[in-house]
Symmetry: C2
Subunit: 324 residues, 2 copies
């Protein structure tokens, strides 16, 4: 994996993925006590950065593989990314999703034309269901992060950050990134290593699901005790990826963990101050920047996704003062 | 007024105003039965396009005038644009706002450091209050739309639309624009006349406040019967501007009027499909594109503002089905 792979992915994504804006707001700077710039990946096609990796991976499949179709496992954002890219490219897609995934994510994945297979997290074996389907129909598995073309696709977000940070006159700064399996963090870190080495990537996770932060300290992959129990569904993963962890270990850290309530407060701040819609898992990096500042250096935050059920969003709005 | 004036404003705004993205979503296209592209001005600094015109106008004031300060009348978005630009440039600002303006807009205007003077729409004379203040302190009045530098500033949004429509491969298309006094519509129309004459500007207003649509039909300025009673507070104005109407008459139309409930439905669609936060007045053009299609040609929609109180936003979320 290197920068050439990311540049090649950027060429494949041109005209498909959006160059998302780097937003700022004086009021956020005041709350954080430092300059905060927000890379709004919630505005990406399908509402999260996952479209980048999905389109990147699908676009390197052979013609035969495209005809047979693809399979993905996902609680939602990778599902939508794969389903949307597959539809654009005329590729059949099957997505295996937990039955307790957010309703909006399941509905959107179906609406993009993918066949959605639901399973019960408590009683059914996701891998067994997926493997049987993949073998039966000879589908290509598109992993959510342990796939070099997916990592390269997510890395295109890092190419944009390097350019936009330069335009904004940002010097040394931390880049805070919501982190599940580490595909986005590792892809961006590789891009910044080549294009903006003065920017340091720091993965952000929900408290109780900080496997990456703990793995970076330990130097070996650590596993979360639980697989559910956070509102940040998009970034709850058991352990760092096999391909992503060596990159994270070499280039990223230290990690940061934030409580769910701060993720929800960050969703509310993004509503009021940036006029973007975030899901809690997509808002943990903003939460870290606003509510857990460690110093007063400029900070770039990736707002990674905005596919949120309205009930959750209402809970965030309830945290706003009466005045707004 | 011509394109040179707009290009000059764009130079003054460079590095200050954001080049807002032109968003799209497959599901919106399906709802509308045609391709819908959304110019997300709610992401502009201060949450609306008004920052463009305010910064443009303030940046041509003499040094002496800047020292004395500026005065603006506004129910909210022009207020925030003037207050924010004034703070950036070290110019004192006084803003006269109706006491029933949205709480968020009043709070933000104050937070940008402007002196806010509230008046009662029913019993007090806004112009008398403003004129007395302006004379007493020798302040420069920054009108919300009847000012050539303001129109030129809003026109910079049109320069971007011309470029972005070309990148997106858009041919002949309507450009639907939320319209109050006509500053944004006339500025964009002038930019498109020079840079993309195949794009036609159509002003969109709330039902019952469609003075521009009726004026375009009559050929002379018409006046609304009421000055309150729509949730689209940002675009309720009595009659087209003296500078804007001749431009609107030459380049724009026919106008479109949409009911308040469709504006609110469009706010909900923007939440789910585009992950942007819109205020009802900023969503009327999207409402026209989605719920009042007249043909199947591509359509570009300006989403002009996103400063919305959470209570109004909750009303929009209530319109979503149970599934999301």
């Amino acid at each position: 994996m290197n920068i050439d792979r990311i540049v090649a992915a950027a060429k494949r994504l041109a005209g498909h993925a959006l160059r998302t804006p780097l937003l700022n707001a004086p009021f956020l700077d005041e709350t954080a006590g430092r300059r905060v710039l927000v890379k709004a990946e919630c505005l990406q096609r399908t509402g999260s950065f996952k479209y980048r990796g999905a389109r990147s991976a699908l676009s390197v499949l052979s013609g035969n593989a495209r005809e047979r179709g693809v399979l993905a496992f996902s609680s939602g954002n990778h599902a939508q990314g794969v389903a949307c890219a597959a539809r654009e490219m005329g590729v059949p897609a099957v997505v295996v999703m937990p039955s307790d995934a957010p309703a909006l994510k399941i509905a959107n994945t179906r609406a993009y034309g993918a066949e959605v297979v639901l399973y019960d997290r408590a009683t059914e074996d996701r891998d067994a269901i997926g493997t049987a389907l993949a073998e039966e129909r000879d589908l290509a598995l598109v992993k959510p992060f342990d796939n070099e073309d997916v990592i390269a696709g997510q890395g295109t977000c890092g190419l944009e950050i390097a350019e936009q940070a330069s335009e904004a006159g940002i010097g040394e700064a931390d880049v805070l990134i919501p982190c599940g399996g580490g595909g986005l963090s590792s892809g961006i870190a590789l891009a910044l290593e080549a294009r903006a080495p003065h920017l340091r990537v720091r993965p952000v996770e929900p408290e109780g699901f900080d496997d990456v932060a703990r793995s970076l300290i330990a130097g070996t992959p650590q596993v979360n005790a639980r697989m559910a129990g956070s509102i940040c569904d998009a970034i709850v993963t058991p352990t760092p990826g096999q391909l992503t962890f060596p990159i994270l270990k070499r280039l990223c850290g230290p990690g940061i963990a934030v409580p769910d309530e701060d993720a929800l407060r960050a969703v509310a701040e993004a509503f009021t101050r940036l006029r973007i819609v975030l899901e809690p898992g997509g808002a943990v990096a903003l939460a870290a920047a606003l509510f857990h500042p460690e110093d007063d250096r400029d900070v770039i935050v990736v707002a990674s996704g905005g596919n949120v059920d309205s009930t959750v969003f209402r809970n965030a709005l309830n945290l706003l003062g009466k005045a707004v």
